[in-house]
Symmetry: C3
Subunit: 140 residues, 3 copies
Amino acid sequence: MWFQKQISLNAKSRGFHLITNEILQTISGIKNIKIGLLHIFIKHTSASLTINEDADPTVRQDFESHFNQAVPENAPFYKHTFEGTDDMPAHLKASILDSSLCIPITDGKLNMGTWQGIYLCEHRNHGGSRKLLLTMQGEN
Amino acid sequence: MWFQKQISLNAKSRGFHLITNEILQTISGIKNIKIGLLHIFIKHTSASLTINEDADPTVRQDFESHFNQAVPENAPFYKHTFEGTDDMPAHLKASILDSSLCIPITDGKLNMGTWQGIYLCEHRNHGGSRKLLLTMQGEN
Amino acid sequence: MWFQKQISLNAKSRGFHLITNEILQTISGIKNIKIGLLHIFIKHTSASLTINEDADPTVRQDFESHFNQAVPENAPFYKHTFEGTDDMPAHLKASILDSSLCIPITDGKLNMGTWQGIYLCEHRNHGGSRKLLLTMQGEN
């Protein structure tokens, strides 16, 4: 049993954003899957996906601070600079984090831990709308 | 053909630990799968999973040293500090590494390279027992 | 519907290399899959896989520069040094990036974004040929 759907997320500010509910709203068919997997793929190279703590918003602020410091703009060795100072760091952050997630499904629901949520990591200053491709499979 | 099982690993000290054998002991059904995939998901946001060299234990010690230096405790910009100085670095390390792995199965066995092993990456000082959700699928 | 194949890539120089076409040439059966997933697994611990911008080659050069600076050779705390100064950084880079990718298939093709390509990340000075295990599944 396979299901696939492309969705577009509204443009988000640079930073880390919880999108668990936006994802869940688009996969109502999940309720029919007893055991399965949800694969989420982002079709961009300057934004990414990760799973982390969904309770305290300062965690997401600290993610933005950490990655800005670990992957700085204007590193003297960057050659790919013509799309702006935020572009090359965005590509690097996207690969350090992830372009896809795979989340288990059990009895019709995502089976994540109590504090886990899905983050959209927007690494550009003006990234615009982002396209996600959702692929769900499993057995009834 | 789908199989899913949640397991709990005994509490481990902060650092990187080989868990390949602990995983294999819980998935005896793997012997019936000709081609497939094993998905391993950690239901926590301050511990993670990765695959790396399983032979020399100093590799795992160097992982701990590197990540402590690359993601330090007490960074001046951290706002999420009330759960201890090891907490925010643990969240960051978990996203830099991975919350899940997907490993190919061939002829009833995990088909990894000669030197590859599965690491449980415990980023907290006292993380306690960790829950993994194993989802296996494939064809006979 | 499952398909699995091991391939060997020719030895590549240290750095980041586009391998999208090399992958596509080995999975002609993809044209029969309406919805599915391609899993690519690298059977090594000092080379890795990621998805990023496939247009401008300076992006890949900046990847090499960034990771050399973020994960330096000769860090004073490394204990695993007997395989050369490029070895321990290679293990770390492999886990920061990824040992596997999972890419959606739609209507017989990989469904990636316009600018996305598959990178082989060679972290050793003389890594030699690298083995990839491709596992493809889906429905007609």
